[in-house]
Symmetry: D2
Subunit: 296 residues, 4 copies
């Protein structure tokens, strides 16, 4: 059994603490929310751990993560290890690792997949960093990952940055998968021949080529709301899809599906599209085609 | 100077009659609208023309055109020539041609481009049919097409059907061109660095690689409404884009730009997207991500 | 236990016969291949079955299926039932059903998913037709579908045609899913930070959002050939993806992901792209940009 | 008449010097190539100009431009003006402007469009910077831009960076336009009904909705090589398309057409696609579908 400091006890971190404790590990958690935190500050968290320490950071990517890492660079000691398990951009990892290395502190970046289901199912993990640091954290990884062969729910993707890179690509793929199911769903809904769309989708769960965990989630959603009309077709994106596309651009990799999925989300959030106003205006200009005036 | 029967005096046909008459040709027009028609019926129109007759049909594609052709197959005589100048699907042409051929009547299919500007600028023409029939109608084509070298505003694309095929592809390209400008317009609008979007677009009219007639029309539109916010971003499609994509499928030709332009129009007309509801539902299922409830 | 005539004993039909017999059903198979057939002709097959008969047709879609259905319309008797389990276009089903109905023979269309794995795993089934005909064939469906709750591997999608429609959309989704994984794979391969691509993908099998049966198949493929470089990136398409896109067009449903996946297959089979030659030519014309001459 | 230092006498800069001199301006050019340069060094170029100087930099974007600007920041004097007319990324402009401002030197960024045709036709110009600096350079702009109203070939797009931003979007649009024509061309070639593709395209030059300068260039190319089969369908990209897509991502602007055009170029340069290998492998895994082995 190992000891772990865990910073960030939101939807993900909270559940991870539960899963780790259920596996018999000692977790000292910190969160700004006094209702869930175990300690009053990062200093207290560090004091509560025996050296060499392992600290897992699970806070929003970007500035929040960078700031926590900077604080820890002043609190941790030679031989300690910090793991960024958030959805940081892989380009942040080298910076974080170098900052911590200057204090003799190790660094791992770990992509964590599985959402709210991870507490019970386990989390898929992709890690970046040195073999030695990976080995130190392996008891933690083994507790967080799903049961079954380790290599089916955990990978050591490469050096620092590779874990977040793999998670970024994972999420880009996820965008594409979701959009593929979504287009199929819309077409089934639009058709007047398929009488019972939710039953068709439910029936895809076993034996078919398209069976997947996302499909099961779609079945759950349709069980609750068979036409999904309690929902707006308004979809956020949280960064990894954009980064995946930027990396595709940087590497000259065609990514028509991932980009289409991302753009569909962008479009879903627009009340008005300037682009489509321009197309409407052009049609009107050359053909005298009717247009919809605003407010009609 | 030649004599022409012209059926269909809407936006296109009406202007074509003007242009043909201005060129000195005799045009006998027929339209259901008594305010614009020259004759009371197709029978009267046929009677008013000297054999061998040339009749130009300029009515909506599909059923209306097929019906007019069927009526003319009973009214025209051996040696006469019927021209379908509407936006018919090329697959209709062979059927029309065979029906008329059984009565000894010739057939040409002609794609006509240029919209409401054609009256003054002339119309771009793409014709399908036999050399002999093309030759009979050439004075008409020469009057309708823009000034300048014939081959820059008129083509004999091939046998019956080729004219509408060429026009179909023309319109598919047109969809792509419009969407390309539209995306650029939206990005300029979204940027906070370009201070004056209409001026930038106006300044592209001379010397640049993107200069075109469509660009000039966009400049006109922006002159009238600099942010295009009098318009809804709601865009119809009239068939040729769909047919182009279907032909791309039939010929295994990748058409990512033309399809993207068509789908953007489809999406522009949706108040709610079932697909994006499905994506929102999936995100909610796996991540507990917030969703917008309908009506929020 | 029921009795079934099964026509077409190729990769799919052969395995289905095995699975049905293993479940205790009596199967009389027919195939042109004398090594696998149980009977010498369709007539013999019909004679070998007790009325009311059930015949399952599992031959290539299009002309072959239409022809077999036409032959059976002369061989089967009132009260018999024919099931088309091939990948027919849904528009064929109404024609088949009406032809057979004129002889008092029932008709079901059934989409069958699962490929070569179906023999052991069971096949996902989507059926179209009347409740009464579905009920007659249910013992067959129960033997073919995977174990577990019936509704997770079988659906009655709607009236005649709905089964093949659902299968068509299933395959359209499948195209999108495969392309999403494929783009992610290519990006991981292109990156110089991810050291071990097959391990990353293997590690996605448990706990992650992207886990699926297709992902497991990708793992199998990478186990055999870690960089997939024994293969050409040349991908056929077998019709359903095209039909899905055509239905999307007919229903004005945006399908950017499914179309992108289809076009990627088209492009994969081109040695030379006329389109990209045109782009190269245009760049050369305006910019004097270097081009590759053919054969360089 | 004004005096201008011009650095970079490649395809673009060489022609611009010609055009400026033809308009009566004094141009002192510098290039590393001794055959075209007027001076031996940047120092000599600066010495040859009377203060306040105007220097136009026309070298490859990125490091080469940044380096020249850095050198000029040590050579120019308060009141001088430097213009970057290359295809720099707009994000470089603020950095350049601040460096020069620290020495009292003004800065303009100017997007220049028109390619090798600009010498005779004039160049389309998009400028970013202060009104005062724009006014100083206006005689240069007036000489470089096409004849006709200034606002149709020149725009002051906004503050520093806006010129290159507008040019970037211009090029993104250009990618989309080219791909639209290219897809249409390929479909016409693939069709067996259109007998003469080059004639059809030639006939689109007058009167049609798709007429444009790019279309005229396509006609030139087809005049030289009617099936474009002297060329490989291999297309480079030079940065602006990528940047446009990245800006679309940053601004959550859907850009399906521009991205499709960019990805088509990426794909055109791949001998083998890892993505399509993965799709082929997946089809083989689930369906036993035939694959092409490498080298077949």
């Amino acid at each position: 059994m190992v000891q772990l400091g865990l910073v960030g006890l939101g939807k993900m971190g909270f559940n991870m603490r539960e899963r780790l404790r259920a596996a018999g590990h000692e977790v000292v958690g910190y969160d700004r929310n006094p209702e869930v935190t175990d300690t009053g500050s990062l200093e207290e968290l560090v004091s509560a751990l025996d050296a060499p320490r392992i600290v897992w950071v699970m806070v929003p990517s970007g500035e929040p993560t960078r700031q926590i890492v900077a604080e820890f660079s002043n609190l941790l000691s030679e031989g300690d290890l910090l793991i960024d398990g958030g959805n940081s951009r892989f380009t942040d990892d080298k910076i974080n690792a170098e900052l911590l290395a200057s204090k003799g502190v190790g660094y791992l970046d770990v992509g964590v997949s599985g959402g709210v289901w991870g507490k019970d199912n386990g989390y898929g993990l992709m890690a970046g960093g040195s073999d030695a640091d990976i080995a130190k954290a392996m008891p933690i990884f083994d507790a967080l990952r799903p049961e079954g062969p380790r290599e089916e729910g955990f990978s050591h993707a490469g050096p620092v940055g590779a874990g977040h890179y793999a998670k970024m690509v994972h999420n880009g793929i996820e965008y594409g998968l979701m959009q593929a199911y979504a287009e199929g769903f819309e077409l089934l809904e639009a058709s007047d021949i398929v009488a019972n769309v939710p039953e068709v989708i439910k029936g895809w769960q076993r034996g078919t080529v398209v069976r997947s965990w996302l499909l099961e989630l779609l079945v759950h959603a349709l069980d609750e709301d068979p036409e999904l009309d309690d929902l707006e077709g308004y979809v956020e994106d949280s960064g990894e899809g954009r980064w995946t596309l930027e990396e595709a651009i940087n590497n000259a990799v065609p990514a028509p599906v991932i980009s289409a999925a991302l753009f569909a989300r962008f479009a879903s959030r627009q009340q008005q599209s300037s682009a489509m106003r321009a197309v409407a205006a052009l049609r009107h200009q050359f053909g005298g085609h009717a247009v919809k005036k605003a407010g009609e």
